[in-house]
């Protein structure tokens, strides 16, 4: 039986992309697989009794070394303010290339806590900051200092002790450019360094609570139980800044999606599935259904999705239990979920299927990076007729959208002068649409198409561009999409009905985030590394930690 890849017109719809779940391909999981053979240790530990100061963690293998420098600072409760306008944080982190000298730490101490307002250098690779979950932090420290373990219900409802609000890399604020590290073997997967930073920052959160509790009561204090710590991740609040990334990096997006689609195709193509494989799947399914109850959210949008997921999983369980292991079992399973469940459940099952076949899935995680510059140039020898046909084939979905309708051009994306982050606003009531970012892909491709149709079809793009440079960035996309068919979100990113949080969910699922908790349609809180091995036990990780039961 020949199984095809799922078509882009199915996969690249935003409601499906916004239903993706973490999987074996997720970057935090591939980070642990890649680095489990490395040595992780605490190199410097200089915290005062209140837990302020700095800690340095080192990750090394032979001569290769990375260090995370964590600064823990006192801030007043009144300074722990709204996420978007914050200028002070409880903790700030910088990932250093190698081992920092004392002078490096002093330099970084003056700059890293300032985040966007500070400067770092090409010696540094990633930058981040985090705030405490105040009520959880205080509860944990209080209990530990009294010689007791904290209330796990409270802990697991939140899921973390600290949450990051940004992780920067690739040249931002003076950090090293990607080209400095892109050829290193251990970094041959997307966002490896960012994942390293977040993993070590999680360890920092445990070390701080243990230290402060011990300082408060050296005689009575106990350490946080490792079983509890393991079930805590690190939180993250993510806003619109992340959304344009997936539009601005079409070639990279293609690599992420096609890796997942190849995995699904290969699994559906397995002709003979044994009972062990089915049992393994069932084990993961049972465990994760239990863990779903810890997915807390106030968002009606997400609550509905979660409710539907549980309902779909119920009917799926009945089908799965009664389906015999005939040929192409997984293909039968996939076809059933596609026909009978919503995208949230369908993509959930796809991620679970991938768990059963590490030999198929894990090698694909090395195919998820790409040299984007190779796709930058426009082949200007192509004819206008060819480009029109490409648009008709690749962008069929947008050709009937009426962009004269206000609802279809309702939003515009812009860069905030205050935060230097992408934002989105109503074009018709807010000022600034004259400075619109080039993220209105559907509208602009439609305009390009209409313009091309009015030109002589046998002329080449070189001729066309002489007088039409305003569409240059869009032509580039059309040609990228020809080579990389999963590079384009097939939805109108400026329509009134756009749910930006779906764009965040897409990216975060590939990071490996869980417990999606949208706080509005524009920002989401998530958890990373919940259930992951602790730093001292990373070498024992068998990559099944995502599906361990949260006690």
């Amino acid at each position: 039986m020949h199984i095809e890849l799922r078509k882009p017109e199915i996969v690249m719809k935003l409601d499906r992309l916004g239903s993706f779940h973490q999987s074996k391909l997720s970057f935090l999981r591939s980070f642990i697989r890649e680095f489990k053979s490395w040595d992780f240790k605490t190199k410097e530990f200089f915290l005062n009794d209140q837990g302020f100061g700095h800690i340095v963690y080192e990750v090394n293998k032979g001569q290769k070394k990375y260090s995370l420098i964590c600064f823990s600072n006192h801030i007043e409760n009144t300074e722990r303010s709204d996420r978007v306008i914050a200028t002070k944080w409880d903790a700030s982190f910088v990932l250093f290339d190698g081992v920092p000298a004392k002078a490096d730490i002093e330099r970084l101490k003056a700059n890293v806590p300032l985040q966007e307002q500070g400067r770092v250098s090409e010696k540094e690779l990633c930058l981040s900051r985090a705030n405490k979950s105040v009520r959880v932090f205080e509860h944990v420290v209080d209990k530990l200092s009294q010689g007791e373990q904290p209330d796990t219900k409270l802990l697991y409802d939140v899921g973390y002790l600290y949450r990051t609000t940004a992780v920067y890399g690739s040249g931002k604020f003076g950090l090293a450019d990607r080209i400095k590290v892109q050829d290193r073997e251990e970094l041959k997967g997307p966002f490896r360094l960012e994942m390293m930073l977040v993993y070590l920052a999680r360890q920092f959160t445990f070390d701080v609570v243990n230290h402060v509790a011990h300082s408060r009561s050296p005689e009575k204090a106990v350490r946080l139980s490792e079983d509890i710590a393991r079930n805590l991740g690190i939180g993250n609040s993510t806003g619109l800044g992340m959304a344009p990334f997936i539009v601005n990096h079409p070639a990279l997006l293609n690599q992420w999606i096609i890796a997942k689609e190849k995995a699904l195709k290969l699994i559906r193509s397995i002709s003979s599935v044994n009972q062990n494989d089915k049992n393994t799947f069932q084990l993961y399914l049972t465990t994760i259904q239990e863990n779903i109850k810890f997915w807390k959210t106030e968002s009606e949008y997400q609550k509905n999705k979660n409710r539907q997921l549980l309902k779909d999983l119920d009917s799926f369980q009945s089908f799965f239990s009664t389906t015999s292991l005939d040929k192409f079992f997984w293909n039968t399973i996939y076809k059933w979920i596609e026909a009978n469940t919503q995208a949230e459940c369908c993509e959930f099952i796809v991620s679970l299927m991938m768990e059963v076949y590490p030999d198929i899935v894990e090698p694909l995680s090395y195919e998820m990076s790409i040299n984007e510059d190779e796709y930058f140039d426009i082949d200007t020898s192509r004819t206008i007729d060819e480009i029109c046909k490409l648009i008709e084939n690749q962008y069929t979905w947008l050709l009937n959208i009426n962009f004269d309708n206000k609802e279809n051009v309702f939003n515009f994306w812009y860069y905030s002068k205050n935060k230097q982050e992408p934002r989105m606003s109503d074009r018709f009531t807010e000022e600034g649409s004259d400075l619109e970012l080039p993220l209105a892909i559907a509208r602009d491709i439609s305009a390009l198409y209409n313009d091309l149709k009015s030109c002589k079809s046998d002329k080449d793009l070189g001729y066309y561009l002489l007088k039409n440079q305003e569409y240059r960035h869009i032509l580039r996309r059309v040609l990228i999409c020809e080579q990389l068919p999963y590079s384009e979100i097939q939805d109108n990113t400026i329509s009134k009905t756009l749910i930006p949080v779906d764009m965040l969910r897409l990216k975060l699922s590939f990071f490996g985030a869980t417990r999606f908790d949208p706080r509005s349609d524009r920002w989401v809180r998530i958890t990373m590394y919940q259930g992951a091995p602790l730093m001292k036990e990373i070498s024992k990780s068998d990559d099944t930690w995502s599906y361990k039961k949260i006690a």
Partner: protein, 198 residues
């Protein structure tokens, strides 16, 4: 010292602020990034170009256009990047004058590679050849037959070869593509306004 990422995005946004299309701005950003990476003073050259006023410069839009004075190097470079697949232009051309010729190098270099072409540039004060290979000659007469007492310094450290004032000017210009946010917009634009304490 600024990263290549910062240089590329600042030039891209500055170009956009000065009226270039997003597509051309992307090309300008990549061109200056490549020059700086190669330790050519791309940023200083780009700043002088901005000072001249991009909109007042002459665009090369036709290889046989009569007025080739006061040419813009970005449009000149883009012209050859976009048109060099066309054999009709594979011949010698004469132009009156060109501002900031350094900025055309990345475009000719790409075009040479993409189309396997050689660009031989001659003027009274600048001669160079751009080839499809990675080694360029900037006036071959500069190379003597024999050298002595020479050194070769090897470093991973890129030099900062522009002034802080040039950077400050371009960075400020790049901010002109950003939208000033009102308090109201801070809430609506980012979905903020909710306290993130938990």
């Amino acid at each position: 010292m600024h990263s290549l990422y910062e240089i590329e995005t600042t030039v891209k946004r500055s170009s956009r602020a000065k009226g270039l299309s997003w597509g051309l701005s992307e090309e300008a950003g990549k061109a200056v990034r490549l020059l700086e990476q190669s330790e050519f003073q791309g940023l200083e050259s780009f700043k002088r170009l901005i000072d001249l006023g991009l909109s007042g410069l002459n665009k090369l839009l036709d290889i046989d256009q009569s007025d080739t004075s006061n040419l813009c190097p970005i449009h000149f470079g883009i012209f050859f990047l976009d048109q060099s697949h066309n054999e009709d232009i594979h011949r010698s051309h004469n132009f009156k004058n060109l501002n900031e010729p350094l900025l055309i190098l990345p475009f000719l270099s790409k075009s040479a590679k993409n189309n396997l072409l050689y660009f031989h540039f001659h003027s009274s004060n600048l001669n160079f050849t751009i080839s499809p290979g990675d080694i360029y000659f900037f006036d071959q007469n500069m190379f003597p037959e024999y050298i002595s007492d020479f050194s070769l310094s090897i470093t991973t450290q890129r030099k900062s070869i522009y002034s802080q004032s040039t950077w400050d000017y371009l960075y400020k210009l790049s901010l002109e593509t950003f939208v000033e946010e009102t308090e109201e917009k801070k809430i609506s634009g980012a979905g903020a306004g909710l306290t993130d304490n938990d």
